[in-house]
């Protein structure tokens, strides 16, 4: 038994994905709390995931879903490392402010 599409077509999903990605990017670019930056990054990743799954459905190909799962794994890893860094920073009594961590300054 095959399934046609129900509800809106893929373009709408992609629009939502784009909006999510842009929102996440805005958060990364604007916010100064590293925790919020990490959360915004998750939104960006989820936007990308939504696009992947929408395309997987559009193409009828499971590879997109596999890719989305891999992205989720990577996101989880990134959260682990990012949170570990935040904890390490706070443990050194440094400010949790992205703008104050600027040892890379040239």
């Amino acid at each position: 038994m095959t399934l046609g599409i129900l509800g809106p077509e893929v373009s709408w999903y992609l629009a939502v994905a784009a909006f999510l990605f842009a929102t996440g990017a805005l958060g990364v670019l604007l916010r100064r709390s590293p925790l919020i930056v990490l959360l915004s990054l998750e939104i960006m990743l989820n936007g990308a995931n939504l696009a992947l799954i929408a395309f997987a459905r559009h193409q009828g190909n499971g590879a997109g879903q596999i890719f989305a799962l891999a992205v989720m794994a990577v996101a989880a890893s990134e959260v682990v490392v990012g949170l570990g860094l935040i904890v390490a920073i706070s443990r050194r009594n440094l400010d949790l402010d992205v703008d104050k961590l600027r040892t890379l300054r040239g």
């Binding site: 990017a25 670019l29 604007l30 703008d99 600027r102 300054r105 040239g106």
Partner: protein, 638 residues
Amino acid sequence: MIVAAWICLLSPLAAALLITLLGNGISRRGAGYLATLAVLVSFVAACVAFFALWGDAPHDRSHYSTVWTWLQSGSFSAGLRVLVDPLSTMMMLVVSGVGSLIVAYSVGYMDGEDEERRYFAYMALFVFSMLLLVQSGNLLLLLAGWGLVGLSSYLLIGFWQERPSAIAAAKKAFVMNAFGDATMALAFFLLIQHTRSLSFETVFARAPGLASNHWLVNLVALGLLGGAVAKSAQLPLQTWLPDAMEGPTPVSALIHAATMVTAGVYLIVRTHVLFELAPKVEDLAAGLGAATLLLAGLIALVQTDIKRVIAYSTMSQIGYMFLGAGLGAYANGMFHLMTHAFFKALLFMAAGLVIHALAGEQDIRKMGGLRGLMPRTYRAFLVGALALVGLPPFAGFFSKDSILAAAMHDGWYGYLLWSAGLVGTFLTGLYTFRMLFVVFGGEPSAFVREHLIRPRRHGHVHHGEGPFSMTSTVAILAVLSLVGGWIQFAPLWTPVTRWLDVVAPTLHHAEATSWQEGISSGLAFALGLAGLVTAWLVYSRRRLAVPRLPFAQRMLERKLYFDEAYDLVFYRPAVGAARFFGRIVEPFAVGGSITGLARGTRDVARGVSEAQTGLLRNYALAMAGGLAVLVVVFISVR
């Protein structure tokens, strides 16, 4: 014979290396003895080679010996190769013989000098260089010897390196010689291009094939002449020789008598085949010789430094040799070279005795009346002076006059040269005996009394007129200056000419008849005597006053403004150009571009480092902006 030649060549080199390597391991005096012994060994070896060659048939007297080919390129090869033939053995004898006397003399002269070891190492090196020059079997090795002679002379003229004037003189000699080296090297390049060889026999065999190319043969001969003129201090490259008197006196003797300045004459005789292809250049060489002998004689008249007077006399006598060699009377030129080596070494070493006795004073105006105080020196000096002027039976008479006779056979140009030579003879008599009378004649001057008479009265006489090593060598040279000329008396007996005939036969137009010999000898004798008598009247009897010609005198005292002219023509423009480039081009074009590059890089780097704010969000913004731009690109492209 070949072994003897190699021993002759390498013995001074071994001494130089040994003295250098032993350093303090050898006493100062030991270094002197070692150098003397080495050069003496050279002389003995040269004698052995000479007598061995004597035993050969006249047309079998050229022997080459190659130990090592150190340059091989296609058909061109040059090796460490010596040549033993009548010409080179004659030069070997003169160089090592007179050289050994001079080195032995130095043992006494340089006694107590701070750096005797260095001095004797240089002396041995000098003798080695000259032997390499005269013994080399190809032009490349000759050039090596040529350059080494220049180097050794540089080192020895500047031996008293704490004197700025000595350093300047050494540099001047080196630069002038380097100019000659350069023209010679250019001539050699031409020879390599056209004959594919630098070895004597190949070049001389192939050279006549190039005769149709006038430009080429003239250029080659001019290049060789440039080298000869620079090394022999002839016009117009003569200015270094008087300044070279800054070196110790035995060095001057070595430069003037045994080595260095005679190299030019040797070169012309050795490469006479190439010169004969370019008769105009030969005439030029003879003309330069005549001009130099006149000019040097004139300048010598007003010099007040005893060594400079002798130095100008050397230039003058080398002028005679150039005259002879340029005319094609090679044997006469070489003969004069030999006798000149004897009496010039004698004059320098006798002058050295005087200078030694007067605590280094060289100004003849402060001398006077030395005849009674240094009688043996006076006699030696007199012998040298008579030989220089060319009065019979002294050596100069036999050699100089045959050169003049050879000039008579060459048309109007020959007569011009001949008369120049005769005038030169008069000048020679005049300046030589002016020096002699001023230094030795009259009453002891105040300066002499202070240095020679007062010490004697206080019982400070330590070594008569000089140490044994000095007086004995002077005595030997005095004898040689007397008898050295007797081996040839053209046209009655001519062993030197016959000896050299195989290598450098006298050109037909330079063969003098008995009558020309007679006339020349008579006139030269008369004029030399006239010069002598004039000097006697002016400087000893004071019957004649020196003519008052302030302009001419100033001209001559300034050596005809050659130094000033070179200063103006070469030095000033070079300095001006250098200053111009240093001020205008260097800071902006060269320095500016470099510093500009550096400053630009630094500024850009500083600007770029401004972008490195260390703010994470800035980097993220840059990425996002880049992404936005890239998406635009992708959309518009696809």
